[in-house]
Amino acid sequence: MRMHDARMGLLLGIVGLVTGCGGGNSNGGVFNFGGGNNGGTGTGNGNGANTLAVTVDGGPVAAGGTVNTLFTTVTICAPGSTSECQTIDHVQVDTGSTGFRVIASVLGNGLTAGELPQAGDGNSNALDECVQFADGYSWGTVRTADLIIGGETAAAVPIHVIGDAAAPAVPASCVTGPEENSVQSFGANAILGIGNFLSDCGMACETGAMAGTYYGCDSSANCSPVAVPVNQQLQNPVSLFAADNNGVIISLPNVTVPSSTVSGTLTFGIGTQPDNTLGNAQIYTVDPDYGTMTTLYGGSQFGTSFLDAGSSGYFFSDAAIPTCADQPAFYCPPSTLMLNATIQGNNGATAGIAFAADNADTDFATNAAALPNLAGPTASDAADVFDWGLPFFYGRNVYVAFEAGSAAGVAGPWVGF
C-alpha cells in the first residue's frame, strides 16, 4: 500500500466566534410546506423540469427496512442511448457525498453494467474505485453513463458500479470496515451524492495516488492506487446539467410523529428559476476543503458540524443523555428531550435551532420509516462532531450550493435554510 503526498491541510481549523446576521429558522421561501419549522404556506409538487419527487420510506425490500433515509428515482442510460436504459428506484439522496453509485446487482433490467463503457486510468488499465463510508467500504468499476434525473440530464458521467463482477478482487488497502457491495448491506439500490463538492475526492486524488480511493487494475487483475484528474473522478451529476446546475434544494414537510412515508421535493438550481429562489433562507458558508461548519451546543463548540441528508438522525456527544441499552448508537432518554443549539457558518451567520431527542427504542418500536426526533451519540465524548441528519430537513427547505460557482450571489460552497 502506498499513500503519496496529497498535501491536504489538517482538520484542525476552528472557526472564530462571530455573531452573524439574522439567525432563527424562519425561512418563508417559495417551497415552504405548511406547519414546518420554516413557516410559510407554499407547496412544492415535484412537477417542474427542475424538480424531482423524493420520499422517505422503508427502502428497498432487500435492505430490510431503513429509517430516515431519503430516496428518489433515477434513469441510467448507456452514453447517447435512448434504449439501453434502466430506471432505478430507491436511490438514496445524499448531501454528504458526491457522485452517483449503483449496486451492480440492481442492473440487468434494461441496462447491463457491460453496456456502460468502463473508464481507464492514464496507464491503459481499467479504472476501479473504492469508497470508504463510516459504516463500511464499497468496491467496483468506474463506468460512463447518462443520468436522467427528473427533467434534467447529465451526459457522460463517471459513475461507480458497486459490486461489478468486472472489477477484480478488492485490494486489501480498500478494506477499512464491513463490505457494502449489495443492496442489503448498502441499504439502497443506488446513491445520488449531491453534496457541496463537484468531484468525490478532488485535488487530493489528482496530485497523487491514494489508497482507499481510485485503483488502476491491469489485465492480470493486479490493482494499485492511481492518481485521477479531478474531472475524471466521480462527478456531482447536478453540476453537469445544462442549466440549474449550481446547487440543490431539499424540501420536506414538517414531521412531528413517527410516520411510514414522507414525500417532498428535490429542486435543481438556486436562483436560476422562479421556483428556486433563496426566499428568506440564510446562507451559511462551509469549509472549502471539508464542507463543514460549526455548532454550539451545551457550552461546547463542535467544529466538525454539517447538514447531512444521508445521516438518519441528529448525532452529537452529550454525556448527560443515556444511550439505549440494546443499541448504544442511539439515545434513549426516559422521555423526549427538548434541546437547543446554534449553527454557525464560516461566514459568521448564525441560527438558533430547537430540536428534540426521543427515546430511540420507543421510536423504533413504531416500525415507522420517518422518525423526526431520532438522535444518537458520537461515541467518544470528544466535542467535535455535530451531525444534523435527515430529521433536520423535516419542515425545511435546505439549500446546498456547490463549490467553484455561486448561487444567490454568494460563492459556494455553502448551505442555506
Partner: protein, 145 residues
C-alpha cells in the same frame, strides 16, 4: 512538556503490526507504515504518538510508557489503514459496524471492550477508538482527541 520529533523513514515496513491493544513500540512501526512524521508528546499518565501521513491524515496513538496502546484517533481527508491501527480489534469493529441504521456518514460503537466513533462526511474523515479496560486511571475519554 517536550515534543520529540523523530525523523521519518519512508520505506513502508512490511511487518507493521497492530496498534490498538499492542505494545507502545507499535506506534513507531505504524509511523513508518503510514509514511508519515512522528512526534511524541509525553503526558502525565501516557504518551501521545502523533503521526502525520504524507497524504495529510493525522493519527494519534495513546500509550502508557510501559503498557499497551489504549486509544487511537485520526482526522484528515481520507480514512487511514484501520486494519493497521485497530489491529486485533479490527474484526470486532467490522462485526459491530454491520448496520446502516445511522447512515453512511457516522458510526458509533459502544461496547465494554471497544468504544469507537467514525465520521466520513464529504471530504472529512475522522474517528476515535479506545479500549475502556486499558484506559489509565484518571484519564478521561474527552482527552482522546
Amino acid at each position: 512538556m517536550g515534543v520529540l520529533i523523530i525523523a521519518c523513514a519512508l520505506a513502508p515496513l512490511e511487518a507493521a503490526q497492530a496498534a490498538l491493544g499492542a505494545s507502545n513500540a507499535s506506534a513507531a512501526r505504524d509511523h513508518e507504515a503510514l509514511r508519515g512524521t512522528l512526534a511524541v508528546t509525553p503526558m502525565q499518565r501516557y504518551e501521545v504518538h502523533q503521526i502525520v501521513s504524507a497524504s495529510g491524515v493525522t493519527v494519534r496513538e495513546y500509550a502508557t510508557l510501559t503498557g499497551p496502546v489504549f486509544a487511537v484517533t485520526w482526522s484528515g481527508p481520507h480514512v487511514p489503514d484501520l486494519k493497521l491501527l485497530l489491529g486485533g480489534y479490527f474484526e470486532r469493529y467490522v462485526t459491530l459496524a454491520k448496520t446502516h441504521r445511522t447512515g453512511h456518514h457516522v458510526l458509533s460503537i459502544d461496547t465494554p471492550d471497544l468504544v469507537m466513533s467514525v465520521v466520513r462526511f464529504q471530504r472529512t474523515a475522522s474517528g476515535r477508538a479506545y479500549i475502556p479496560r486499558l484506559l489509565p486511571s484518571g484519564v478521561s475519554r474527552a482527552e482522546l482527541r
